[in-house]
């Protein structure tokens, strides 16, 4: 089971840069998601690793074996990289039955007939599609097609499995089910998974590491909770989490190595950082996750209820403070009258402070009023 290493990988189409100087190391057995909005270069990255797309520059290695290098003029074709690939639209061959679709790869590998039959049976059973063995893809529902596609990809026992938004064509319920199964599948196979998605929830819940990209540039490559708790910059902070993180303007003045006086949301507070930090010249803003805004009668901050969205288990409250609208998430079902005055606190020790100029995250810490 190989480790995949990308060094300075760049893909250009004319003047358009699809992927810019990407460095990435995918550990053996990892479940890595490439996350980003459409057109950010995540699919291109995946296709370059799989060998379906040729990078303009850089080097791709599986363990020590070079798969691509523009300097050394090496380009191992996709067929020789021994990987699995699950396509967004499944790409099932319409003229073959489910069985034929699954057996195709094994026949190519010159497996013996009985072994092929055995393996196809096994795959049909694993993915619970035995009853569709003799159907054509057009006669299956989206979820069933999805399973066939997975079976076809897994049949030759690939050590690396690439998936390009495999769940995006399914309805919400089925998507949830398939997520659970994919995670189990990863555990059972012990293979390396590289997974492309634009759904941050999918990335959060599935992966061992998230690679977040924007306009061809890597933004952050870290485990999901790190990405959530300590986003490297404003883009990541805003992209991950639902509802999004509240980003509010602030004026800060350094007091000592770990504290600063901050004017935020009409109040002067003290920011106690978890580590030493320096303030930039260009000004800062605070990043506050919705769950850190706590509404209570004697809260230190003031605002009004702009809109309340109860969802049963939790309630999202949109709080209007001056011109800004903040999101707060409260446990349980609460309902505020529109425009009612309410008070809230900023809690927790994971309030983030960002450099307005570079958008980088400077420090995390807690806020004390007064």
């Amino acid at each position: 089971m190989p480790k995949i290493t990308l060094t300075h990988v760049t893909k250009q189409w004319g003047n358009f840069i699809g992927v810019n100087d990407l460095n990435l190391e995918i550990e053996d057995g990892a479940f890595v998601t490439l996350l980003g909005s459409s057109g950010c270069g995540k699919t291109t990255t995946l296709r370059m690793i799989a060998g379906l797309e040729t990078p303009t520059h850089g080097e791709i290695r599986f363990d020590d074996k070079i798969m691509f290098s523009d300097e050394k003029n090496i380009n191992v074709p996709a067929a020789k990289r021994e990987v699995g690939f699950l396509f967004q639209n499944y790409a099932l061959w319409p003229h073959m039955t489910v069985t034929q679709n699954i057996a195709f790869g094994l026949e190519t590998l010159k497996w013996k007939k009985p072994e092929i039959t055995e393996r196809v049976k096994e795959m049909l059973k694993t993915l619970r599609i035995e009853q569709f063995a003799d159907r054509y893809p057009a006669e299956l529902s989206g979820g069933q097609q999805q399973r066939v596609a997975i079976a076809r990809t897994l049949a030759p026992k690939p050590k690396v499995l690439f998936m390009d938004e495999p769940l995006s064509n399914l309805d919400a319920k089925l998507r949830g089910e398939m997520r659970t199964e994919l995670k189990r599948l990863h555990r059972d196979m012990g293979a390396t998974f590289v997974y492309v998605t634009h759904d941050q929830l999918e990335a959060m819940t599935l992966s061992s590491k998230i690679c977040l990209m924007n306009e061809g540039v890597l933004q952050q490559y870290a485990p999901p909770l790190t990405v959530y708790n300590r986003p490297s910059n404003l883009f990541v902070a805003d992209f991950v989490g639902n509802p999004s993180m509240n980003i509010v303007d602030a004026k800060a003045e350094k007091k000592d190595a770990k504290t600063a006086a901050v004017d935020v949301l009409g109040k002067r507070v003290t920011f106690h950082a978890n580590e030493e930090f320096d303030l930039p010249d260009g000004g800062v803003c605070l990043g506050i996750r919705p769950e850190f805004l706590f509404i209570s009668e004697n809260g230190a901050f003031e605002g009004s209820a702009y809109s309340t969205l109860p969802a049963g288990m939790e309630t999202t409250v949109k709080i209007k403070v001056g011109e800004e609208i903040l999101s707060a998430v409260m446990f349980g079902a609460i309902d505020y009258e529109t425009d009612a005055k309410l008070r809230y606190d900023i809690t927790g020790d994971n309030i983030l402070i960002f450099d307005r100029g570079t958008t980088r995250c400077i420090a995390s810490g807690s806020i004390v009023v007064g």
């Binding site: 379906l52 690939f85 639209n89 790409a91 061959w93 195709f104 057009a138 006669e139 030759p156």
Partner: protein, 617 residues
Amino acid sequence: MSKNGSEGRKSGQKLLYRAKSYFSVQANVLIVLFAVLLLVATAYPMFSVIRSSLTAGQMEAMMYNSLFSTKLKTGDFTWLNFKMLLTRGTGMMADWSVMQFWKPLWNSLRMSTYACLIAILIGGTIAFLITRTDIRCKKFFSSVFIFPYIMPSWTLALVWKNVFANSNVGTGVVGMLESLTGICVPAWVVYGIFPCSIVMGIHYAPFAYILIGGTLRNMDANLEEAATILQAGRGRILRKITIPIVMPALFSTVLLVFSSTMASYAVPVFVGSPANFFVLSTRLRSLYEGGIYTGQAYVMTIALILFGMILLGLNTWFTGKRKSFTTVTGKSGQVSYIKIGKFNYVITVILVIFLFLISIFPIISFALESMVAKQGDYSTLTLKYWLSRTEISGYAVAVGNGILFNRNILNALWGSIKLSLIVSLIVGSCGVLIGYAVARKRGTKLAGLVSGLAFFPYLVPSMAFGAIFLAVASKLTFLRGTLLLLIIVGGIKYLPFATRSGTNAMMQLSGEIEEAALIVGASWPKRMLRILFPIQKSAFISGYLLPFVSCMRELSLFVLLTKSGTLITTLLSYFDEKAVNQMSNGINLLIVIIVLLVNFTTNKLTGASIDKGVGGN
């Protein structure tokens, strides 16, 4: 009593109400209207073909009377047309059926098979190269490769003759090859099944390219990539994935090319007949000529139609099978081309040369031949056949001034343009409406009937079609020799093209697009003109373009129905028969240029193109 009466009235009202609500939907009105129109337009001619096939012609009556001692008069009912043409006779006429039917049938089948193979081989290869590899000059190839299809089919036959004719063969006219190099190719290269198949194959190769290329372009590249990932080699992918998936397109190509070749007349006449190579369509003409063996001619027509229907049936049976190909279309934006590396240059050069020969060279050849005073002698170049303002002499018939100042030629040209314009306007609009009605009522029996009937004229050979309407005009005398008759014939004959593109375009539009306009209260004409038409503009305009082009270059359909001076093609055929070589080449050049110009400007202005009309993308 009164109770029954009121109940009857009630059910009558109910029926009336149901009819009213049915016909308040425009698609229903259209589908019923076209079902009736098409039934009349196909059933009546079919009926008259069958009736005529059971009627003794002038010569046939005499023939049967002497052979079978019958007492038939011209116009009498008889089964003998079938017996005579299809079964072995006795005595002097023993070989009649072999000569007139079975041998030409065998030739037709052979020629069509070869033509299909050539068309698919050439068209398919070029389609594959253009859609799947990184070959150079794609744009140039795809625009120039259409030329042989846009040009009249006989142009290539004429070029073939212009090039390969030599002093050892036939009339001994010296062709380009001999006059330039002194090489005399053997007779079988010049005339017979070899040139017929090749010329037909090349003429329809663009057709194969359009259909196969369209499927390849629409085909999700992921399907092939999925096989690559599973470590299948290029050959295996081609055999197991690509070819099976383009199979329906291949079958459509076979259907269209085979039936077109079976029915083609001009090419076998130009490069077949001189070597006594006869096919069904040329035999049909000779049987029909002078109206003497009309009964047997119509028996032959029935045979040709039957062949078309069998092919069509095979096609629908195949594409309607369980392994439906509906999921073929995908939307994979990222297509990576196969790198053909060091062969790129070689293949590009070969293609350029090949396309030059079949697409550009004919035009040059016509220009040259229309300007040489003595055939084969290129030192006698002159512009007088184009520019002379006085009568040109030296021919067996009076030809008039140079082409550009010749009243007859210009009149015929105008006649052709007028006819083509009117036909394409009518046919194109019908195509849009039929497409709309069929798409909205898809799945219903009526929709199936209408689209089937609209395809039917394609299966009837042009020559036979002309013959049928000659018979119709002999009953409805007010039609005889009029423009209206030509419009009707052209309209029905070219309907399949327009219907095809209209239906394809409409099928791609979901009903919701129209419903969104319906909800805001847009009337039906407004929905058609402001919403549906603009969205699929280029596809619809292609539905106008193809009938125009086809009509402009059509000969065999009209040749029986009008005087030689009415249309430019019939005039061309007249000049060709009378060996007015420079004029016929010049007129040919004119037709080719006009057709190419119309295609080019329409394409630039609207994005419509012949390929879209044929059903490609």
